[in-house]
């Protein structure tokens, strides 16, 4: 492949904004082709670090530090004047990289929004207010009389978040609750007749909502431009870089079964015992026990099995064998078969769904009667100990695992479990249930061949 050097690349128009840009439109900047790629890789390191932090269940104050550190470590530039340009350029390059599929867009949107959120939190309140003005948010602070009338409730909310609170913010913005979904979801605002009372220290949520919706729309537009013109125009220059960037850092998505392809139904119990991570083992056992799993469980296990290499026909047979014992063959065919074919992209919008990653599994919120989610996160310690014991995790290792869980390092806990069960190290760590499976199979395979 030809390497093009120092090509002038002007993307399009716009102004440059101080310290924390809103990325409203692509910059009118000249970029050297090497920088194009290097900047993007640096930013990707930041986003990937954020992604890891989130999947470990880091708390907001830990994320504050993490984001700050990641940013300082990767996004510096020897020339101060170039720092802001690097920020903007790298963002727009990654937009190109991550606009191309729904999955990529979702990941990028989520990571960039998180990055923006924590950078905004680090700014002084003056800068924050300036940024709010820049977003042109139409909200006014709540007046004195109104504040007094709801003061008690506002204090009640504040106390429910921070136990030892002596005084409450006095500046509140009254906004339609739809504008601050994350504050509503976690009950961190007082809501009255459709309006949420947002404290000054929570405006980040308002701004983030704006940021997110703007970026989300922009990504769809970028994708259109990419497919209609850019990809073809840049096929010798940017396109190869763009295409390489998205795959090299996210890791495989396991939507297609890999090396060990195909497990057959008769082996499945054996394989489940030897190579399923705890989350899948638990679902699998519950299914065998109850002959039923609720929607969340069917999705998590079903897509995992698909990634493991269970063919559609086998998957149908597998689920049918269990469910029909509980609900009968007819109801299975009527109510459940559709969604299995759906997962394999044979129904509905015909998307071939990808198996859940650890990050996704950890973020799930299982409810009554559910068995999905990450056991390291969702089990009580006692139940987790019992489950690990059953997997054959010895005492010492078990304590290590529990220790990781207490610090909310769920993937590390899973990695330690893997190592204990296989008596073999796993340096890369576990990031995906299907990775757990394939790594496990690799080890078992090599053991088999070495004893032969």
């Amino acid at each position: 492949m030809e390497i093009v050097r120092s090509q002038r690349n002007s993307l399009s128009v716009v102004e440059v904004v101080p310290t924390l840009p809103l990325y409203r439109s692509a910059p009118l900047l000249e970029v050297r082709l090497e920088d194009f790629e290097l900047y993007a890789i640096d930013r990707l390191r930041v986003l990937k670090g954020i992604s890891d932090g989130l999947s470990r269940g880091k708390k907001p104050d830990e994320m504050d530090k993490l984001v700050d550190d990641l940013w300082k470590a990767n996004m510096r530039h020897p020339q101060t004047s170039e720092v802001i340009n690097k920020d903007i350029i790298s963002h727009f390059v990654l937009r190109l990289v991550y606009c191309r599929t729904e999955e990529l867009r979702k990941w990028f949107l989520s990571m960039e929004t998180t990055l923006f959120r924590y950078r905004f939190r680090l700014e002084s309140s003056d800068v924050q207010r300036a940024l709010m003005t820049e977003f042109d948010l139409p909200y006014k602070a709540v007046g004195n009389a109104e504040f007094e009338s709801v003061k008690e409730k506002l204090i009640q909310v504040a106390r429910s978040i921070v136990p030892s609170l002596s005084s409450v913010d006095t500046i509140f913005y009254k906004v339609p609750f739809e504008e601050v979904p994350e504050l509503v979801a976690s009950r961190r605002v007082f809501i009255l007749k459709g309006n949420a009372y947002v404290a000054m220290n929570q405006v980040v949520s308002l701004v983030v909502t704006q940021f997110r919706s703007h970026l989300s729309k922009a990504l769809v537009l970028t994708n259109r431009k990419w497919t209609s013109t850019i990809r073809e125009q840049e096929k010798d220059r940017l396109t190869p870089i763009v295409e390489a960037l998205s795959t090299s850092y996210l890791g495989p998505d396991y939507s297609q079964p890999r090396e060990f392809t195909e497990i057959s139904l008769k082996d499945i119990d054996q394989v489940a015992k030897s190579s399923f991570p705890l989350c899948m083992r638990h679902l699998f056992e519950k299914l065998r026990e109850d002959h039923h799993l609720k929607h969340g469980g069917r999705m998590q296990l079903g897509l995992f099995l698909k990634g493991v290499g269970l063919k559609l026909d086998d998957a149908l047979a597998f689920w049918k064998a269990e469910f029909s014992r509980k609900v009968g063959v007819e109801r299975f065919d009527k109510e459940y078969a559709y969604s299995i074919r759906h997962n394999y992209g044979k129904e509905g919008k015909r998307t071939d769904y990808t198996p859940y990653s650890c990050q996704k599994v950890i973020s799930l919120t299982p409810g009554v009667g559910d068995h999905h989610g990450c056991p390291y996160r969702h089990f009580s310690e006692e139940n987790l100990r019992a489950a690990l014991g059953k997997m054959g995790v010895g005492n010492r290792a078990l304590e290590d695992v529990i220790d990781k869980v207490r610090n909310r390092h769920y993937q590390l806990a899973c990695t330690l479990t893997f190592e204990a069960v296989h008596s073999s190290s796993c340096d890369a760590g576990i990031n995906h249930p299907n990775q757990y499976f394939s790594d496990s199979q690799k080890i078992l395979e090599s053991k088999k061949t070495s004893t032969m």
């Binding site: 409730k153 009640q156 909310v157 106390r159 429910s160 978040i161 921070v162 136990p163 030892s164 609170l165 609750f177 739809e178 979904p181 994350e182 509503v184 979801a185 976690s186 009950r187 007082f190 809501i191 009255l192 007749k193 459709g194 309006n195 769809v220 929607h295 969340g296 007819e330 065919d333 009527k334 559709y338 919120t365 299982p366 409810g367 009554v368 009667g369 559910d370 068995h371 056991p375 969702h378 089990f379 009580s380 006692e382 139940n383």
Partner: protein
Amino acid sequence: MTREETENGRDDMQIDGCETEQMQDNAVPDGFNANYLKVYYGKLFPHAEIFKWMSYGNDGKHPACDHSYFGRREFSFTLDNDIYLRFQSFNSAVELENSIKEKCPFKIDIGPVYSVDPAKRHAYAQAGDNVFTPVERELVFDVDITDYDDVRYCCSGADICLDCWPLMTVAIKVIDTALRDDFGFNHILWAYSGRRGVHCWVCDGKARRLNNEQRAAIADYFRVYKGNENSLKKVSLTGHGLHPFLARSYNEILKDFFEENLLPSQKLFSNEERFEKILEMIPDESITSELRGKWQENRRSSISKEDINVVRWEQLKHVLQSGKQKVQGLRRCVEEIVFSYTYPRLDMEVSKHMNHLLKAPFCVHPKTGRVCIPIDPNHCEEFDPTTVPTLSKLLGELNMGGLKADSDNGILTVKNLDLYNMKCIWVFYFGKVDLLIQFWEITTYVKVIGDQMIVCYLASICFMN
């Protein structure tokens, strides 16, 4: 032999009521079958009202009306041979009615309003991405009593009785109050799901246009119950105080319900297995063993007149809330127990996504034969699922002809005013008639003819933006 003949599907079933006979002779055997359903859809199902409701004013002459609106709504039919017809759409009330009568679905589900006619979605699929997407949908909630199996001892699974049904009543009260007072919604329809739960349709324009993220936020706002069988604590209340919404729910609804109703009716402390389940939620060994000791000892000696469940609950509260317990977490325990046993458990997935289907009100549940009638949230404690009209009861009344308003026992069944030249209208209503008029603002839809009354329940939410 009349009974058998009817069951075998006589379709000349007497329905016009011109022969006045004794009520017993007109009684229709219990059950659910396609023939009954045909009569129901032919004579009783409120097709026009459903159309009017789902049109939200877009069926009028006003220039601002979007005449494609109703036609972009997905209906889904489940036929008796288990064939599932998704993405049905209709351009008029007549089309809707004819299709329902012709296909005679065992179940009708209502989906979202899409950007384009869902029946033609394949034609748009070629045009490019995302043309066919949901654009509007009522905010819906589904509460199902099977999710309460770990806190009710009277029934399990799909069974319900008057001892556990009040859990549904409490769910209605908590959710309904918050939807109105907190979120500012006004047009809310509650309906019996026909068997073991309730559905809620929030119809305000603002609610219909919420995106998935906003829907999920509301659902999460309502979510307190986080556990499954693998986590000890089902409910975790953090912080020093409760959020105003939870505090209000607790003080105004849950606490009294738990102490006065659930505690004695489910006998929550009556034996070791049951009280152990509650003790598990207290993270302090010395307290639990103190209480356990007390309760195991006086098992036989307690001849006091007071209900043992109430006594033990008071003891537990006393120990946890006495001045000795400095630890905030332990005081919080009492609330956590009450929340665990009484707080509404929503099926979150139903509420989170625009394109989730939900069974239409006024359907008949195939297993119970009961009609999915609306429930008035202001009088929800009077609702008794065991006396809900069934298909066979309705057909029996239809056979008798005329109008029967039975407001004494709380059900108003208005129908069949003039079988010869007027389409029959009926509506079930729970509660007092004058309250009904007050409650549903649109009184124009309550016509009074002599001392008889036709009430259209659905009409009140038809017009709302």
